[in-house]
Amino acid sequence: MVDRIAILGGGTGGTVLANDLADRLAAEIDAGDVEVTLINDGPDHVYKPVWLYVPFGQREPADGRRPLRELVDSRVDVVVDRVTGIDTDARELALRDGPGPLAYDHLVVATGSTLAPAEVPGLAEGGHDYYSESGAVALREELLSMTAGHLVLSVVGTPHMCPAAPLEFVFMADDWFRERGLREDVDITYTYPIGRVHGNANIAEWARPLMDERDIGVETFFNVEAVDPDAGTIASMEGTELDYDLLVGVPPHRGVDVVAEADLGDRGWVDVDKHTLEAERAEGVYAIGDAATTGVPNAGSVAHYQAGVVARRIASEVRGRPATATYDGKTLCFVETGMDAASFVEFDYENPPSPAPPSEKLHWSKLAYNEAYWLTARGLL
């Protein structure tokens, strides 16, 4: 009897998990007792943090892409196809192009986030973003041609990928315009939906004074109701309206339709036990990374740590032992505070973050990690 492990999604979580399983279960795979299949709807693995640097001309989108098959252990069967249905009762996946349903004994959903700008009227037409490759490229053109005016960074939806990235963007934009001698002609405003500048109170208390020092305007309690691209305005349901010359919006996010249709959770996210990462609405299903509603940030480090936990749990199940590995909420983030300084935070379910003083050393650590990321994806780091 072969144990069939299917991983849905070839982002950070899915790729790290596939390589971890290939290493951990090498003997069983080589003996033909275990099969690991990674299904992704494209041939490339994408490292999305690169997009933050694209608008400032520091990286190219290609820097964040590698062929998935180059990153994944040869023991893993990589299938480039789109999953169109998940039947958790029959334990089968329907594939758009595949010859038939793909049966599994263990399924890991690692489908990440998708952007839903259409949920806010005018946002898709009036706003730019760096949460997609095309968005980052288009925003680069806008930033390069901006020499004066009002730049508004608006966090429209939460949760969103990399909760620190909106802060990073305004800190980097402030520094970037200063270096170019344009800062006095460019106003920067940051909006956030609740009464502080970040969901986590510790990070908000750390970031707010930095924003004030740098003359970055802040609008809290700003839940975006609509964007008017013709008038160049963005309005909140709390009654505030801002004029903008360049709007950078962090759009609402959601999971993928196939997860929503399988009724594993709401909006395409999978409801899971936040320690075991087991789906709450189906047997034999795990979820990791953005796709899992654990309450921790949508961040690559989270997906990385969760992949390690699920690999250990599935290996135990395959070997007929109790699965004991659990996720403690561990999250690591470097936070850029300019073009040559960064902070660092580390936290988990029990211990809140305490951001480190910004330094050049931490900035270079972040850039070094970005370069070394491909070792992480391969399961080496």
Binding site: T158, I194, G195, N200, F221, T293, P297
Partner: protein
């Protein structure tokens, strides 16, 4: 046991969500609610205590009651 005698129109279960998730879930429901509706927000996050009360103060909505009798918090918010 709670002695709050309010029948909510709708309930938003945001337990296990990190901030600002619970408040954002509440706001999402307020957007589609009718004036006078009462939404019960369930949250197990202490930061919701400040987030929710600050937000209703900022808007015309009203926090009718806060249930702290169980393991989770229950916020009864009347939509303006």
């Amino acid at each position: 046991m709670t002695d709050i005698d309010i029948e909510p129109t709708d309930t938003v279960d945001a337990r296990a969500a990190a901030c600002p998730g619970p408040l954002m879930d509440l706001i999402g429901r307020v957007r589609s609610a009718a004036p006078g509706d009462v939404i019960l927000l369930l949250s197990d996050n202490d930061e919701s205590l400040t987030d929710v009360s600050e937000w209703v103060d900022e808007t015309d909505n009203e926090l009718l009651a806060l249930d702290e009798s169980g393991d989770d918090y229950g916020f009864y918010v009347e939509v303006a």
